[in-house]
């Protein structure tokens, strides 16, 4: 089986999800090609990869390059180009856009494929007919933002996709629901495959010692959807009640100023550390140094960081945003709190802090076991092989 995966950039090795998916498929004898818009990482030996034509620079060079690629596609990939052109025409795509679509898909034409799999919903635009043009089947993954947020700004953006796609991959049941809410009418099969983590990397059995000072941690981009401001507001309630704690946020992003101001205004300067971006190895250490993992997101696909925290044996308190309530079973492997309510989060944190040690150990253990059994790479690899077969 020959699988082509379309991604925004060639996955870095830290992006375990894609790396492991690729490895799993290869072990099974599948061949994998990555089609990326940008290189991202310089060295990528895992599989073959091809970069989309870059159309940047001055107008002259864009026009020149476009014409050059267009010539190449008509000389070397005449049949596929023509098919794409005609399929797009049938869909009522304008003439210029039809040519543009040929140019931007040229790097895909030369690979013989059984499946063309778009790694995110948002990768699919203007490429809805490419799979058919190259005689491959078409798969799309939906992971959260692409189906939860993007269509709000671009209503009906997937309308064309639904009739073309052969199989849809979602990472949680909530995402599946969102696919239906966005106009999908059951035209093809939807398969849920949850993310997975390298459970051997996070092989660590933690001694929970929730001492005088609680140690909270979150690993997240500093993005509005991660709900970090609400988290800080909840912690300021704990502080006003006289609880002593420290909260570490690992990650960087656009919302830094907003968070810094919130920390200042909520008088949490001595209680919160913004660590910035960290290497995977260091994240693991930071997790091991904490007791309670917080993921109080406003919007979330599934969240690998929560899986990793559980694997390390942390107690996880998360919001009920999309996939998180599947990631954590409330009261069994952690706690799920309605999102966007600092008061409710603070109440839950107090409850967790005040649990007796035995109960804490029990939750930590079941979380760890569940992640190891259900969210491991071997299981995920198998599911993906079935997905294509």
């Amino acid at each position: 089986m020959r699988i082509g995966i379309v991604l925004p950039s060639v996955p870095a090795y830290s992006e375990t999800f894609f790396v492991n998916k690729i490895k799993g498929l290869q072990r099974h004898g599948f061949s994998v090609v990555i089609f990326a818009s940008s290189a991202g990482t310089k060295e990528f030996h895992l599989s073959k990869f091809k970069l989309a034509p870059k159309l940047k620079g001055s107008k002259v060079s864009i026009v020149f390059n476009s014409l050059y690629i267009l010539c190449l596609s008509f000389v070397f990939q005449f049949k596929k180009s023509k098919r794409l052109y005609l399929l797009d025409k049938k869909d009522g795509v304008g003439f210029l856009q039809r040519l543009k679509n040929i140019i931007s898909s040229y790097h895909i034409f030369s690979e013989p494929l059984d499946w063309l799999h778009f790694g995110f919903g948002t990768m699919v635009f203007n490429k809805e007919n490419v799979a058919k043009a190259i005689d491959a089947r078409m798969a799309v993954s939906f992971r959260g933002f692409d189906i939860g947020v993007y269509p709000l700004k671009h209503p009906s953006c997937y309308q064309k996709l639904w009739t073309k796609v052969n199989r849809i991959h979602v990472i949680s049941d909530d995402i599946k629901e969102l696919v239906y809410e966005n106009g999908f009418g059951g035209e093809s099969e939807i398969i849920k495959i949850t993310p997975a983590i390298d459970t051997s990397f996070f092989n660590y059995e933690k001694e929970l010692h929730l001492a005088k000072e609680s140690r909270f941690v979150t690993v997240a981009r500093l993005h509005w959807k991660k709900g970090l401001v609400y988290t800080l507001e909840a912690l300021s309630i704990l502080k006003s009640l006289g609880y002593s704690f420290h909260y570490t946020i690992i990650g960087d992003g656009a919302e830094k100023e907003r968070l810094q101001f919130a920390i200042h205004q909520l008088n949490l300067e001595g209680n919160v550390t913004l660590k910035g971006k960290m290497e995977h190895e260091d994240i693991k250490k930071a997790l091991e140094d904490a007791d309670i993992y917080l993921q109080y997101s406003i919007q979330e696909g599934f969240c690998n960081a929560v899986l990793e925290a559980q694997a390390v044996g942390l107690l996880s308190v998360v919001s009920d945003a999309e996939g998180l309530s599947e990631n954590i079973i409330n009261n069994k492997t952690g706690w799920v709190v309605p999102k966007q309510s600092p008061k409710l989060l603070a109440e839950k944190l107090l409850e967790v802090i005040n649990l007796d040690d035995e109960e804490k150990q029990k939750i930590s253990k079941s979380a760890r076991e569940r992640v190891i059994n259900q969210f491991n790479l071997t299981k995920q690899a198998k599911e993906f092989i079935n997905f294509y077969e």
Binding site: G148, V149, L152, K153, W224, K225, V229, E233, E255, K256, E257, R258, Q260, F261, A262, H264, Q265, L266, I298, Q299, Q340, K343
Partner: protein, 395 residues
């Protein structure tokens, strides 16, 4: 007759924000000579007593540079040399600095009034040439920029003690600036002034039986706290209060679009992009209540305008807002970052009687007339300038 004062009102761009343009207009009418330097964004009529020395494209920058190099060489070669040495020591593009600085050096205003505190390191040099430096303390530049940017905080701490006078838009911001070593005696609180003749009070016949018409106005920025306003809308919807909510100034913010999509009452919430001043004022007039959900403000002008027009205001207690609004007296004041308190206030407004509504809004108008008239602002600013120069004479 004494020579009129020469004041440079500097914000970097011409035209500047509405309130800076209003300030210039008022100062000119007081007989001060107002010098304006910087980048010309579009054509602006020169008022009597106001003088523009601007540049726009590369060509005009070049011409400007040549003109002032020549004039300075001819009439003030020593100062030019001194300034050139200063420019050489900077890490920035020296041509651009010369384009920016030469006209100021040549025209030598008595006072250089910097509108945005962030630029202080670029302009502290004027003091070496006998020009007094006044700095305005406005919103973000004091309230959060130096918190996120520690280097800026250090710059403030180092340079604020040197400034000849500060204009603070609120008492709260004056206090905040003191943290960065601004000398308290040099800070004068001058409230923003409105042209009240243009903002006529409108006695509304508020009706608690119809759906509540709520509005917020402000740019698309996290400090406006719209997320809390949307949470509050969700809460009043849960209590079956019927309402319409419009945010003006935001039309494609992902976070707000997402939050709205999660609400049952999403159809009652509208986002409208940028509108011109008169359109905004019309919407304020039409609304029953204006909500300011900010986490940070100097004093929000739009609140002052709503109070002048007779529209009831619910505001968070941030920055200097409590210097304008007294809770339940001339509006409602709620804690920051608290959507429940905001929804409670909305609920209170929704059941107000027509008379109570009118009493609150009349009180609000009175506050604005007493504290935020244009004349008052201009007089106080004029006093500030004179006192700076008087002090200089005494020294």
């Amino acid at each position: 007759m004494p020579k009129p004062l020469k004041i440079a009102v500097y914000s970097g761009e011409i035209p500047s924000t509405t309130f800076i343009e209003r300030l210039v207009e008022g100062l000119c009418s007081k007989g001060l000579l107002i010098f304006r330097f910087g980048l010309k964004k579009r054509k602006l009529d020169q008022l009597e007593h106001s003088f523009h020395y601007t540049y726009s494209n590369r060509l005009s920058k070049g011409l400007n540079f040549l003109k002032y190099s020549f004039l300075l060489l001819l009439f003030n070669v020593n100062d030019k040399r001194k300034l050139d040495n200063f420019i050489k020591a900077q890490l920035k593009n020296s041509f651009l600095l010369k384009v920016k600085y030469y006209p100021v050096l040549y025209h030598k205003p008595d006072i250089f009034h910097l509108q945005w505190a962030k630029g202080i390191a670029d302009w502290i040099w004027v003091q070496d040439f006998g020009i007094k430096l006044a700095v305005s303390l406005r919103g973000a530049h004091i309230n959060y920029s130096p918190i996120a940017n520690l280097e800026l905080a250090e710059t403030y701490k180092r340079l604020f003690p040197k400034v000849d006078a500060f204009h603070a838009v609120s008492k709260a911001i004056a206090k905040e600036a003191a943290k960065y070593n601004a000398t308290e005696e040099k800070i004068k609180v001058i409230y923003s002034g409105l042209d009240l003749k243009k903002l006529e009070f409108n006695s509304k016949s508020f009706n608690s039986n119809t759906s509540l018409n709520i509005i917020s106005i402000g740019r698309d920025h996290w400090k406006k706290g719209y997320a809390y306003a949307l949470d509050a809308m969700g809460l009043i919807d849960d209590q079956d209060i019927s309402f319409n909510y419009t945010i003006v100034g935001v039309d494609n913010n992902e976070e707000l679009l997402y939050k709205r999509s999660q609400l049952r009452c999403r159809d009652n919430i509208n986002f409208v992009g940028h509108l011109c001043f008169s359109e905004v004022m019309q919407l304020v007039r039409d609304a029953d209540v204006l909500v300011l959900s900010s986490v940070e403000e100097g004093i929000a002008n739009v609140v002052l305008e709503a109070m002048a027009l007779g529209t009831l205001v619910i505001s968070t207690d941030c920055g200097g807002m409590n210097e304008v609004i007294t809770d339940t007296k001339n509006g409602f004041l709620v804690p920051v970052r608290n959507s429940e308190a905001l929804s409670d206030a909305l609920k209170k407004v929704s059941v107000l009687s027509k008379d109570d509504y009118l009493e609150l809004t009349q009180e609000a108008r009175k506050t604005i007339e007493q504290q935020h008239s244009h004349t008052q602002m201009i007089n106080q600013m004029n006093d500030l300038y004179h006192s700076v120069l008087k002090e200089a004479l005494c020294e």
